[in-house]
């Protein structure tokens, strides 16, 4: 049997299976009047819900031009997003959530009421409370509390909205990162950047619509799935670029191959793919063709855009870049350049924020100080630089981690850790947003006196996703993709737009 016959046979078998599945489902419904009744009621009640007037369905997916710029359902305030993720989860208690009460409890045994029914990643037995490892002060007209660890950022608090009561249900890094960026703690869902580029395409066809930049010496724990496209067409996955060496791997012509020859070979591959498409009609093949073409165009544009060395000296000083090295500040400057050039979604991950205190590098008062210093200047420069270029009104900037840190000092497996550190904490942490139609100088949500639980303004990952989509012009409940027989959405069955922080 030839390969083709084998393939055809498989196709036929799959088709028969599908028919059978249809049959059995129909049979089941016919047999159970209850089921039919419930279905009827479902569709009746469905119409009783929210009205969907003025909402047109999403633009159709065009496999030949998957990244062409598309209109959102509503006129959005933001046209692009820069998401700064501090992988490992920074401590809200050392940066934004000032808790003087916790200072008084420093060194005392943790009250049992805080431990009952709780699960921690590492804390066992009775840990000690740990006071804030920083001095705090109020800044700006909005009088926002920021610690001494972020001397630069504290000058721009009037540009941002703080969410003080963010909560998650995942206390390990990978699932929590996945939940925040894909809407599910398990693998397989498309990331937020994929959703956004699927829905909006991108303005610049010579660059990817969704760029990922990592720093800190390691990938986020969730791995590349955290910028994966899941069940969306693969053209929407994040394209990882580098701020050191070639911006995109293999973008240079191989030694001995001229640009013309490269073009000729890409044309040949595309021609073969085109024939393949005519035979099988698989839209993924068209996506592949367009990706080859974009890769060729990127050979010209990417090195120019990705090269931060062309920026003037004062910009480098403003961001605190380290030319020639892979670092967060370089990535932040690159993010600004990319957004300026029309890239839709830039996702940064900076690794190394996991402040357990079992070694100096992850101690709150040693290694983490270096982390604070490595991001403070760059983030501040980003907000100010976007602002002075008139980009902040159209660019939504988000900063945060995947969860927070406990008010207790970590005692790994019941033993006191040698350095000051905190365990993973899911109930309350801080994320801030700026630009893109978000309120300036605003704080939403409040935690209790030790920063353990939210007492107001509690939001979860779905709410943040819903808000980001809203600012881009989507109703997160209507923005869906059909997969495995049902429409999927980024926010699953949750998500409320945080209207309070929208200007």
């Amino acid at each position: 049997m030839t390969q083709k016959e084998l393939h055809d046979q498989r196709l036929i078998r799959e088709a028969q299976d599908t028919v059978r599945r249809m049959h059995t489902r129909r049979h089941f419904l016919k047999e159970s009047a209850m089921g039919l009744g419930a279905l009827a009621m479902g569709s009746l009640l469905g119409n009783c819900g929210r009205r969907h007037e003025n909402v047109m369905s999403q633009p159709a997916f065009d496999p030949a031009h998957p990244l062409l710029s598309k209109s959102p359902p509503f006129a959005g305030k933001a046209r692009s997003v820069i998401y700064l993720h501090m992988a490992g989860a920074p401590s809200q208690l050392e940066l934004f959530d000032f808790k003087p009460e916790l200072t008084k409890m420093d060194g005392q045994d943790c009250p049992p009421s805080l431990m009952e029914g709780k699960q921690f990643a590492f804390i066992r037995g009775v840990p000690k409370m740990l006071g804030p490892q920083a001095k705090f002060a109020q800044h700006g007209e909005s009088r926002a509390w920021v610690s001494e660890h972020l001397p630069h950022f504290s000058t721009v608090v009037d540009e941002v909205s703080f969410l003080k009561s963010v909560t998650t249900d995942q206390f390990n890094h990978a699932p929590a990162q996945l939940l925040l960026h894909t809407g599910s703690p398990r693998l397989g869902r498309p990331s937020m950047g994929s959703w956004v580029t699927y829905g909006l395409g991108t303005d610049n066809q010579n660059l990817p619509g969704f760029v990922v930049l990592t720093s800190g010496g390691s990938f986020p724990d969730a791995g590349k799935s955290v910028w994966g496209s899941g069940f969306l067409p693969s053209v929407y996955q994040g394209v990882q670029c580098r701020s050191e060496g070639d911006p995109v791997l293999f973008i240079k012509d191989p030694h001995g191959m001229s640009r013309d020859m490269r073009k000729a070979s890409i044309d040949a591959i595309n021609k073969a793919n085109q024939q393949e498409y005519e035979e099988y009609n698989d839209p993924e093949i068209l996506s592949r063709i367009s990706q080859y073409e974009m890769a060729y165009r990127m050979q010209i544009t990417a090195p120019e855009v990705m090269n931060i060395n062309d920026e003037p000296e004062y910009i480098h000083e403003m961001y605190g870049t380290k030319p020639g090295k892979a670092c967060f500040a370089n990535n932040v400057l690159l993010a600004r350049k990319l957004v300026e050039k029309g890239v839709r979604y830039v996702q940064l991950f900076d690794w190394g924020w996991d402040a357990h205190g079992d070694a100096p590098y992850n101690a709150l008062n040693i290694g983490l100080i270096n982390k604070y210093r490595s991001v403070d200047k760059a983030i501040t420069a980003l907000l100010l630089d976007l602002k002075q270029r008139g980009l902040l009104e159209e660019t939504l900037v988000v900063w945060g981690g995947e969860f927070g840190r406990t008010p207790m000092m970590e005692n790994r497996n019941g033993n006191q850790n040698p350095y000051k550190g905190r365990d993973h904490h899911t109930a309350a942490f801080t994320i801030w947003m700026a630009g893109g139609g978000i309120k300036k100088g605003f704080t939403y949500g409040e935690t209790d006196e030790i920063g353990y639980y939210p007492i107001s303004g509690k939001v979860e990952a779905f709410d943040i996703q819903a808000t980001i989509l809203k600012q881009l012009g989507f109703d997160h409940e209507q923005f869906t993709y059909p997969f495995q027989g049902r429409p999927f959405r980024l926010t699953d069955v949750g998500g409320k737009v945080i209207h309070d922080i929208i200007a």
Partner: protein, 465 residues
């Protein structure tokens, strides 16, 4: 004294007790209908028993409810209606009980039981309204949440009159119903400056400058369960922001004429005032799409522009208004720009930044009179060309970063009163020009950029370990 204290003791049990007759009477009605089926005929004797004890429960509820109403914490008309419906339930269940004892016909009994259910439902709903406030059933459906603020966004908060625009609307929404023209509980009226100052039965309610000692603020700040708390528990409460504003007004002298900018804005009230500002200066208006409908743009022109590498799309799926972005249009911008003219009614956002256009291109831009937002940053335009843009009367945001524009070139645009954002970083506008420009564009945010993030010693040092 003893009787009084007994009343105080049993009255609060009313909200608990009422559930007994509700449950028992509903059960009786339910049985009444169940007995239609022969299989349930054995339940028939239980119906009068349930009716009897339900009736007793209803009577007890009526008595405790009456005592509770005496406390005066509740809205009189609503409490009165609730009371009378409660009494109706008690009487009606008694009638049904008697009819059952006289063995009336089954069908009549069934329909009577329906009436009873309706009476119970009305009474229960009124009771719910008393304890949870009006609209409690639908509160979960609205996105506003339980506490609704009486305050509407104010276009220019600094110019707003504190009493007329902020304090009075709050009092009107939350206090007037009992302390206004129709009712004067405690002989207090709050609907005019004179009556506020006059106070009520117990004397003055307002001590200007001393919020903590003013009765009307003190009452609001009491715990909600306190008998003296205002507004009464069952009534719509003031939101935190409203309380903050009221305290601020009384604390800063309770002046009835001053504007916001004339009072000392405290740290606490600053963010609250900010929430009243309708939109902030940035943001809101910028993305505003005109509400007036517009005809669909010529598809052929759009197709030709796209062919030339210009992004042209509707700003939203259901809108005919367009945005255009020349970011990938290449060096031939000057030849494609004239095409835009036929989109002049639809085009509201235009990005021409980082293109090689000069002053001559602005002739075409000047014709696009619907434009709300335009990015001309990093182009070769000069003051000479900029003058032409004074025809863009709807313009809200103008980005001139990285051009040779000077302050003198901007002044002819001062008739563009809708201009909210002017980006002037890396232009020939100097810091000395700033004050003059701000006067020329009083309602715009001028951003000359050049922000500096100093390098601190800590920025370049690492802690070694």
């Amino acid at each position: 004294m003893t009787i009084l204290s007994i009343i105080d003791l049993i009255a609060p049990f009313h909200p608990v007790l009422v559930h007994l007759p509700i449950g028992i009477l509903l059960l009786a009605c339910f049985f009444q209908w169940l007995t239609i089926r022969n299989g349930y005929a054995f339940l028939r004797p239980a119906i009068p028993v349930a009716l009897f004890w339900g009736m007793i429960g209803a009577v007890v509820s009526c008595i405790t409810g009456y005592l509770l109403a005496l406390s005066g914490e509740y809205d009189e008309t609503l409490a009165g209606r609730h009371l009378w419906f409660g009494i109706a339930v008690a009487i009606f269940s008694l009638i049904m009980y008697v009819l059952h004892r006289l063995s009336i016909n089954e069908r009549a009994a069934r329909w009577l039981s329906l009436v009873l259910v309706i009476l119970i439902a009305i009474t229960g709903h009124l009771g719910g309204t008393l304890t949870h406030g009006a609209g409690y059933l639908t509160a979960g459906l609205s996105t506003e949440g339980k506490k609704q603020t009486a305050l509407k966004p104010i276009p220019n908060i600094q110019e707003a009159a504190v009493y007329a625009d902020i304090v009075q609307p709050v009092l009107e929404a939350k206090c007037f119903s009992c302390h206004g023209p129709s009712k004067q509980k405690g002989k207090l009226r709050l609907d005019s400056p004179q009556s506020i100052l006059a106070g009520g039965k117990d004397g003055k309610v307002l001590i200007p400058g001393k919020a903590d000692e003013s009765e009307m603020v003190k009452r609001i700040l009491l715990p909600i369960d306190d008998d003296d708390h205002m507004p009464p528990k069952a009534k719509p409460q003031l939101t935190e922001n409203e309380v903050e504003l009221l305290q601020w007004w009384v604390g800063s002298g309770a002046d009835f004429n001053k504007k916001v900018k004339e009072l000392q804005v405290t740290e606490k009230v600053q963010p609250v005032l900010q929430t009243l500002q309708s939109g902030d200066k940035l943001g809101k208006t910028l993305t505003d799409v005109p509400e007036a409908p517009v005809a669909k743009a010529d598809e052929k022109v759009i197709a030709r522009l796209r062919q030339a590498g210009v992004v042209v799309i509707p700003v939203a799926l259901n809108s005919n208004y367009l945005l255009a972005n020349f970011i990938t249009a290449g060096p031939m911008v000057d030849s494609t720009l004239p095409l835009l003219r036929s989109l002049k009614d639809q085009l509201i956002w235009l990005r021409l930044d980082n293109t090689p256009i000069g002053d001559s291109a602005l002739d075409h831009v000047a014709a696009l009179t619907s434009l709300r937002r335009i990015q001309l940053n990093n182009t070769n335009i000069t003051d000479k060309g900029l003058v032409k843009l004074k025809s863009l009367t709807h313009l809200q945001s103008l980005n001139l970063v990285g051009t040779k524009i000077s302050a003198a070139g901007l002044l002819p645009l001062q008739k563009l009163i809708n201009l909210k954002n002017l980006y002037l970083y890396q232009t020939n506008v100097s810091r000395n020009d700033f004050n003059n420009l701000q006067k020329a564009f009083p309602s715009a945010v001028l951003d000359t950029g050049k922000y500096h993030v100093p390098t601190l010693a800590a920025d370049t040092t690492e802690i070694k370990f």
